[in-house]
Symmetry: C2
Subunit: 392 residues, 2 copies
């Protein structure tokens, strides 16, 4: 007798990984240039030079001792440096005592969820949402409550109001959003804060706003990332250096508990205890030092803006419907039939790899990751055209 859930998570990979694996095989068959692979969010822009330079320097200067255990929460000087950075940029007033360097944002999210969830609690996920929020929440023993999207992918406040119950323990927010590219405005965060505070007052139970923000440095002209921790006290920031530094394989990020939270020290302790229970001993040691040296440097994310513009213009001309992304590097496009899985399947015939929206919590869309080579976008347009024509 094996646990049903872990078995199902292991048997069925998420749709992006599934399609990406198909892509690998297909590229071997017909050549990489003939497959338009938009499946994964693997940054196409390379890390800034300081990343590899730091690695070389650390090895030269510190030699063989850098690979030892660090404290579980991360090297104290790195935690202090990140706290300073957060205070300078977002005025959080946070100290290193509420900051924990994690093995990527995924570990920050699972520690946050396991650290606050008591089995039976509900976690609200706002569709469309990153597929793994469901897996992480259920693994922590929570029931997932899905709020359907607003037409323009703005924050669906009415939907959230309707989803709140006296068992709501957490709500996950993700701005800029994967997969829609929507950025939540300060005004929307204000309204969300009011709504959650009102519910807390009514039930007497804390609702934790968990902010997953690996894309916050990838925001386009005219839009601005607003920090959720400044609009609601019972909030936790989960961050990853994966996207802004293009190092997703190295698994390094952090969580930060809002110092304005009542009981912040206990919540922090519970998250740290959860990370311990899940087997996170310390974040990778060498990369902690790399981050310490490269904090404040970023990949050239303007490349994604150019990709976005070429993609949006091309698809718009062909008659596809979508809301132009405000940040991140995904475009969430309406499928040409109600069944997104069937649409994704048909797209494969034109060598277009477009994960269906079902795993993202809503139907009728596909996600296009435009963190790819420019040529992939440009060369894919005839395929998008043929796909469109096949529906006429």
């Amino acid at each position: 007798m094996l646990p049903e859930k872990t078995l199902s998570w292991g048997v069925s990979r998420n749709c992006m990984r599934e399609l990406s694996a198909y892509g690998v095989r297909r590229k071997q068959e017909i050549g990489a240039d003939h497959v338009y692979d938009f499946a994964l969010g693997n940054p196409s822009v390379l890390p800034p030079a300081i990343v590899n330079q730091s690695i070389i320097d650390i090895i030269r200067e510190e030699g063989n001792t850098v690979h030892a255990y660090t404290t579980a929460a991360g090297i104290p000087s790195l935690r202090a440096k990140i706290a300073d950075d957060l205070n300078a940029r977002f005025d959080l007033g946070i100290g290193p005592d509420l900051l924990y360097i994690s093995t990527g944002a995924a570990a920050a999210l699972t520690a946050s969820l396991h650290g606050v969830i008591i089995p039976g609690d509900e976690v609200i996920c706002l569709a469309p949402f990153f597929t793994e929020y469901r897996v992480f929440s259920e693994c922590a023993g929570a029931q997932v409550v899905v709020v359907p999207p607003a037409e323009d992918f703005s924050l669906n406040l009415d939907g959230i109001r309707a989803a709140l119950t006296d068992r709501t323990k957490a709500l996950i927010i993700n701005s800029p959003n994967n997969p829609s590219g929507a950025v939540v405005s300060a005004e929307e965060l204000n309204q969300l804060g009011d709504l959650l505070r009102e519910q807390e007052a009514k039930t007497g139970s804390t609702i934790y706003l968990i902010s997953d923000e690996p894309y916050r440095e990838i925001v386009y002209d005219g839009f601005e990332y607003a920090c959720p921790l400044n609009y609601y006290d019972d909030s936790i920031m989960c961050y990853s250096f994966s996207k802004a530094l293009s190092v997703p394989g190295e698994r390094i990020g952090y969580f930060a508990v809002n110092p304005k939270m009542n009981d912040a020290a206990n919540v922090y302790a519970s998250l740290v205890g959860a990370a311990r229970g899940l087997g996170y001993v310390n974040p990778p040691a060498l990369f902690q030092r790399v981050i310490e040296r490269s904090l404040g440097s970023y990949s050239d994310v303007s490349e994604y803006k150019t990709n976005r513009d070429i993609l949006c213009n091309g698809l718009r001309e062909l008659g596809y419907e979508f809301v132009e992304p405000q940040g991140a590097f995904y475009l969430f496009m309406k499928a040409l039939e109600p069944d997104a899985l069937a649409f994704s399947e048909r797209a494969k015939k034109y060598e277009l790899l477009l994960p269906a929206s079902n795993d993202f919590g809503c139907e009728g869309y596909v996600r296009i990751s435009y963190c790819v080579a420019r040529s992939t976008i440009e060369n894919s347009m005839p395929a998008f055209k043929a796909l469109m024509e096949s529906y006429r």
Copy 2:
């Protein structure tokens, strides 16, 4: 309302980390040379040169692309290489399809536990055991059943027999053992296998033998590591490169599901699904490549043998009681009073940092980590002498 367990795991660090934190403060007060810090299992022998050379070579040869996501189970060529290594050394007959590169042995253990445990199942831990087995097991929803140690720290088969119930789902074995240094012989594994098979036949339920073996390359003259997977089919190997390559901070290891297990593919899938649910996206990318280049190289573990001999001779002369370690780099010494916590506290007065055995699942001992500078061992002897005299 926070979950009680995660809060308690976060508030109380394990005894080693607690004492080590005290040691850091104490060294600042009186100087590092005057504190005899035996608290942590941080390898004192440096990694072999190939580790840092590989890092430099990888950065030079592969440049900026090495930091991308890898597949969740690890780079296929690395998995194949490790499978070949396991087959050559232990004749496991395993393929890469049952091997998963993990973020250290801790992640391999938590994935193994979450992948097989259904809440209410029992996990048997053999005292003395690594403190985190309890935390990892309880986090997966299991009840921990502790088998008391045999006087000489050999496998307590009668104790195991008495602990088996129809809810027993797993038994964790750790050879060489942390903290006792005991190595489980082939003969003992044979008897354990018989016992577990007998119980499986009686209840009709599978019992998974989870073998945590980060110390298997650190075994002293006259003793030999025997691979548990060759004595019992329903077994899972959890390994870390932390100790043999002295890279504990980099978090890289693997789990391997015994190919002789009935239903091995499903068990593997469930463990992979568990790792996904716990937030393990992929093991650190750069270090996967480092392991690929350095597999088969080891730190010079003969240093630990010399440390062990100096420590054992010194303590024996002073009249302390212990079983000489057969492997790993810990000595489990009888406290001079029944209350190990009080003994550990008194040792601090002599600047000796010796974690009490209570968290290891039994009373009356302290753990001495001799993966330290030779001079720490040599210079500590007068302190051990004074501690002994204080009990006369």
